[in-house]
């Protein structure tokens, strides 16, 4: 699927060492499952870069390891606070992303991990949810009681989860799918699934708190992680309006059903 941010290598990763790269955030937007749309939305790129950087810096303060190195302004890598205007480029550490061979309807994760060694992008998306809207696919994967809810059936409105729920899905398959714990553990390779869950919950906690202070709810989001030499770090970008859903307090009190403000406007739409 087309990405709305461009990616540039400054220094290639090696089998053992992380490299350096850049995310360049564009004003393009894409719709879930199709790809890029013809329009550009002014300042979208800067908005996502700013929010992503802000969240990475917040995670850093909270001792959550990430691949973030800073943002780029006038060719220099700096902290957000040192910028004069909203940056559109972010500096990050880079890891290896081996090929994921696909033959006879099956993906060869063994080959992926063989090539990955101790330095790789974990080929999973780790989804965390705080609420379950009406359209959520989570409803198909379990009953309310499975998630600590005191109800026999899923209600006709969005429901808040007593504890955040973490799920794993593939990242590199043509039709990405949610995974059982065992499958996810396998695909994660040498990384412990519990560690990924821990990071997802930590990120969720930091974002939810920030969102709350700013007058937003935080319904759900996802992270991607990399593994390098014993350490798991949060990768990609975290907590932006494209990746997460942050309904405003206004929409929260007026509408208890599924559509949040940002899923109405965010072209990436609702989280399945």
């Amino acid at each position: 699927m087309t990405s709305v941010k461009d990616f540039r290598v400054e220094e290639e990763p090696t089998a053992t060492d992380l490299g350096r790269g850049r995310f360049v955030f564009s004003d393009r937007y894409s719709v879930f499952d199709w790809g890029e749309m013809p329009d550009h939305v002014p300042n979208k790129g800067a908005s996502l870069c700013l929010m992503g950087a802000y969240n990475f810096e917040l995670l850093d303060v909270n001792h959550v390891p990430t691949h973030y190195l800073g943002v780029v302004e006038d060719g220099e890598v700096k902290e957000l606070g040192e910028c004069e205007s909203p940056p559109t480029e972010m500096a990050i550490e880079l890891t290896q992303v081996p090929d994921l061979p696909h033959a006879d309807g099956a993906y060869d994760y063994d080959a992926y991990h063989e090539a990955a060694g101790d330095n790789y992008l974990i080929p999973l998306e780790i989804v965390f949810r705080n609420t379950v809207p009406v359209g959520s696919s989570l409803r198909r994967r379990g009953e309310p009681a499975d998630y600590g809810l005191d109800a026999d059936e899923w209600p006709d409105e969005a429901v808040s989860l007593p504890e955040p729920v973490v799920e794993f899905s593939t990242k590199y398959e043509e039709q990405d799918r949610y995974l059982s714990r065992a499958e996810a553990d396998d695909i994660a390779g040498k990384v412990d699934l519990g560690r990924l869950e821990e990071l997802a919950l930590a990120v969720n906690h930091v974002l939810t708190e920030r969102a709350d202070e700013a007058g937003f709810d935080h319904e759900d989001g996802k992270i991607e992680c990399l593994y390098h030499d014993g350490t798991v770090k949060v990768g990609d970008v975290v907590g932006t309006f494209d990746e997460n859903r942050f309904p405003t307090a206004d929409s929260r009190s007026r509408k208890r059903s599924s559509a949040s403000t940002t899923s109405a406007s965010s072209p990436s739409g609702s989280r399945p």
């Binding site: 937007y29 719709v31 499952d33 199709w34 790809g35 749309m37 013809p38 329009d39 550009h40 939305v41 002014p42 300042n43 979208k44 800067a46 908005s47 996502l48 700013l50 929010m51 802000y54 205007s85 909203p86 696909h102 309807g105 043509e174 039709q175 920030r210 969102a211 202070e213 700013a214 007058g215 937003f216 309006f241 942050f246 405003t248 206004d250 929409s251 403000t261 940002t262 109405a264 406007s265």
Partner: protein, 67 residues
């Protein structure tokens, strides 16, 4: 799109988008502007600093809702 996806699942063919007949349309200018304002206003509110010249989040949300 659903037919193309169903066919892809049947045949195991990964490139189903090429089989879709419909192309996406461009959005009207006022929708694009409202979206831009929403991203900017939302970011200003979230990071608690007016990095962007944008309406308040309440106004930006109201505008999108009115579309």
């Amino acid at each position: 799109m659903k037919d193309a996806k169903a066919e892809a699942i049947e045949t195991g063919e990964p490139n189903w988008r090429e089989n879709c007949a419909v192309e996406p349309d461009r959005l009207p200018a006022d929708i694009v502007e409202a979206l831009s304002d929403l991203y900017c206003a939302g970011t200003n509110a979230y990071v608690d600093h007016d990095w962007f010249d944008a309406p308040t989040i309440e106004d930006a949300v109201a505008r999108v809702r009115d579309l």
